[in-house]
Amino acid sequence: MRYLPHSDHERADMLGVIGASDIDALFSAVPKSALKSFELDLPAHSPEFLVEAHMRALANQNHAAGDGPFFVGAGAYRHHVPATVDHLIQRSEWLTAYTPYQPEISQGTLQMLFEFQTQVAKITGMDVANASLYDGSTGTAEAVLMARRLTRRNKIVLSGGLHPHYRDVVKAYLKDDPHLECLSPSPEGQGDILDHIDSDTAAIVIQTPDFYGHLRNVEAAAEAAHAKGALLIVVITEVVSLGLLEAPGALGADIVVAEGQSIGNALNFGGPYLGLMATKKEFIRQMPGRLCGETVDADGNRGFVLTLSTREQHIRREKATSNICTNSGLCALAFSIHMGLLGEAGFVRLARLNHANAILLADALEGVPGVTVLNKTFFNEMTIRVTQPAAALVERLAQRGILAGVPAGRLLPGDPEVENLIILAATELTTEGDIAALCAALTEELA
């Protein structure tokens, strides 16, 4: 067995040193009825080439995004990841390190997290960021709980433009708390969340660009929330948008949560992803998750450690700010390398390229008979209304090799209002040829 170093001879020697007759003697605390009391209906070990063949056969049954025109978004985005990123994150010292519990021999991971926190703070326009959370959706739920701790108020209002999966995660974390108000999705434009803020409101949660691709007025939301003593949580599922859109921190957001997958991380069928969270300096002690801080060592040299862990479960146990005991370290590394490679110039250019391609897509779709683009504003994603049920149409396009977008009904089942809506995204990888192919196929299918 290629991963196990012992020979039978060595095993016998070791048992001799231990003074055990056989391996079962080491399992003597296990009740007899439960020890090796079964035959597992599972195959025996397999050579590398056969395992590889099995996995490749499974992979080949999937239609990869790169196999044809691709417009699927709605919370996960296909961007180009420079080869350098994947090469670097596979270096052993990054890939196979653990949580930096021994900072003296974990300075690589710690300095990277410090740089990552700085990058996230800069793009969101906030004072501080943590070292990442599981993903954007769980980060949103954590932000809601954080707002409750900060304000000691209960009411939470979720905008209808919040990604429905994110809404569902918040509902699960809050166990359908009656103080949670989820507004109805509004595919046509701005909702009326500002009318739902009162003196009992801990926070309102808005997403921009929202689930349908519309840009939301963060500044107006911040003013309305703050006027009632509530906090504003801004959720961003497409972090590339921050290269072109005003930073939420500059517009008055109190907590910013984002899905960081777009930078440095592949689609991966939904995970692993990367939750970004940033907030104001005065709120750091209520922010969940790991934090890396700068300090000095015994020689006075700059170094980095995990810090403010008194908020966390391994110290506070049942009083901890959350039960999280990990972060998305390797995904944060990929983000940080990609962001480092982009830099200011590259990040802005990437955002402009995304927006430009989305404009091409929107204009082309407007020309397809039977298609209406609902967005007046957007970054790289938009919603169209078609003249027939969207799910079946998207399926037929997929059979033609075109992954056309997400039927809104997939995320909002049973809502007749969204049955004919498709959400489409363009990125820097979208070509004019892709757009032409989509529009030609749509024209035929809708004729």
Binding site: P5, A97, S322, G343
Partner: protein
């Protein structure tokens, strides 16, 4: 490099010049100190936006993001990587963390475009291979644990724990027993256990450990009442012991109408050898990143699928895969079930690929052998060191981790922490210290099945030599350690009292490369 009183570097080598230190022992400046807002390692075409569709929300504030060209980035991250200890560079015997070898085949498979380059919301008909993979992984997990259902989606062990306890809560409510508000948690539990129970609104009632390090079935019986919703028990426990009365505990818990949540962080010790379902567990998370070797990546991502008993299976969250008339179907929405969804999309697909690759490579026989070797290695370390170190719970063989306490250091002026730091100078990552909390000055050593006898012997020799040295009165070697690491001991108090959590442009230095 000298430091000003903010702990910031001053003088040469900090403002856009190259790194100080040698290539073999790098002292790497921050990205922002070597980068430049005009440098970029990515070539992208410039586009003119004649009229944007941003509705007046375009950015006006400065980004001020440093960039690196590709060679600069390569060197920065390679040099930083050299400041990390990793499982590929040396033994990493962190108890309760399971740092085992990460086969590179797993990485290669996870990067196949058919797995890495598929979108969670593309049509289900175009991802049948992905669903089949989830189905196969589920089958392996249910078979190895003898349970009725599995929820794959949790993003990490603690997230799985949360989901498992949510399922228990939902099941209690469905039975009309929402009045059950207490969760029993042994004192030796991981800190996430009480945090999870409290998070869900439960009152945590601790169960003391017996003097032999295990949980007493009588103590559990005494604590059970009609208000108890569940027990959260780690098995094998955090002292490295298999709970000998686990079946009786499960029986007592069930008799009282409560559920048995098992923290499965230590499944590595028993996979293929003992099935938790046979012990009476109702829910257990499995850390794919520990047991099935998906790499830890400096702190994550993890993956924490939860297996569920028949009683809890109806309360599994979405999404899940099931057989449909035209291939596999994805159930993404549940009608009438309160539990719903704990993460957007379907969980850690990248980890599913790695875990299934690992399982197929080992097979049922190899997984059992791996568990047995992990237990053998831990007992070997214990046997070789027990004459020099103090073993708090000697009554049972240890499982996959060997626990010592610090009583052997009494009167030496050397603390457990000092001892651990001295190990760094000898080329080993220290063991887990001060955990579990039930033991004073705990040292928890988990060699895993990846370590050869030769490595274990070297480790034990070093441990023995250090113990002898500590007892002989040479405290300096310990209190000054580490001497040979990239950094000496770091001031953690200062980091917490005056938090510096991001880089700021020093006011007295010119902006990098401007």
């Amino acid at each position: 490099m000298s430091m000003n009183n903010q702990g910031r570097p001053t003088g040469v080598g900090t403002a856009g010049t190259s790194a100080s230190g040698s290539a073999l022992l790098p002292d790497e400046p921050l990205l922002f100190e070597i980068g430049d807002t005009e440098h970029s390692g990515v070539d992208l075409p410039e586009v003119k936006l004649a009229a944007d569709r941003l509705g007046g929300f375009a950015r006006k504030s400065k980004l001020d993001l440093a960039g690196l060209t590709e060679p600069e980035a390569m060197r920065h991250y390679v040099r930083l990587s050299r400041l990390n200890h990793s499982i590929d560079s040396g033994m990493y015997p962190l108890g309760s963390c399971t740092m085992k070898h990460n086969p590179r085949l797993n990485e290669k498979m996870a990067r196949l475009p058919g797995f890495a380059d598929i979108h969670p919301l593309q049509p289900v008909s175009t991802v049948q291979g992905a669903l089949e993979l989830m189905n196969q992984l589920s089958y392996w997990l249910m078979t190895l644990t003898n349970t009725a259902a599995v929820a794959l989606s949790p993003k990490a062990g603690a997230h799985g724990e949360l989901l498992g306890m949510m399922a228990i809560k939902a099941a209690q409510e469905a039975k009309g027993e929402a009045h059950r508000t207490i969760v029993l948690v042994p004192e030796s539990a991981h800190g996430t256990n009480p945090a999870t129970a409290a998070f869900l609104g439960y009152t945590v009632k601790p169960i003391p450990a017996r003097t032999d390090g295990t949980v007493d079935v009588q103590a559990v019986k005494d604590a059970l009442s009609p208000e108890v919703a569940a027990i959260m028990l780690t098995n094998p426990n955090t002292c490295g012991l298999f709970e000998p009365q686990v079946i009786e505990i499960a029986q007592a818990v069930h008799d009282a109408g409560a559920f048995f949540y098992c923290d499965g962080a230590n499944f590595n010790a028993i996979m293929g050898v003992v099935r938790p379902g046979d012990l009476g567990i109702d829910a257990m998370h499995i850390n794919l990143h520990k047991t099935f070797s998906t790499p830890h990546g400096g702190g994550g991502p993890g993956a924490g699928p939860v297996v569920l008993s028949e009683a809890l299976a109806p309360f599994a969250p979405v999404p899940f895969v099931r057989k449909g008339t035209e291939g596999l179907e994805f159930v993404e929405h549940i009608e009438g079930n309160a539990l719903g969804r704990v993460t957007a999309f379907h969980g850690q697909m990248g980890m599913y690929v790695r875990a299934l690759t690992y399982m197929l490579s080992h097979g049922a026989d190899g997984l059992a052998q791996a568990a047995q070797d992990a237990v053998l290695n831990a007992n070997y370390v214990k046997a070789r060191l027990q004459h020099l170190f103090s073993v708090p719970f000697p009554d049972y063989p240890t499982m996959h981790e060997a626990l010592f306490d610090d009583s052997f250091l009494k009167g030496t002026d050397v603390t457990t922490l000092d001892f651990a730091k001295a190990l760094i100078d000898e080329g080993f990552h220290p063991m887990t210290m001060y955990f579990p909390l039930v033991v004073h000055g705990a040292m928890l050593i988990e060699p895993t099945e990846s370590e050869s006898k030769q490595t274990l012997d070297r480790f034990c020799d070093v441990m023995a030599e250090l113990a002898t040295e500590a007892k002989s009165g040479n405290a300096e070697r310990f209190t000054a350690a580490p001497m040979k690491a990239p950094r000496r001991r770091l001031d953690e108090t200062r980091a917490a009292r005056q938090p510096i959590l991001k880089w700021e442009q020093p006011a007295d230095l010119p902006k990098a490369a401007e």
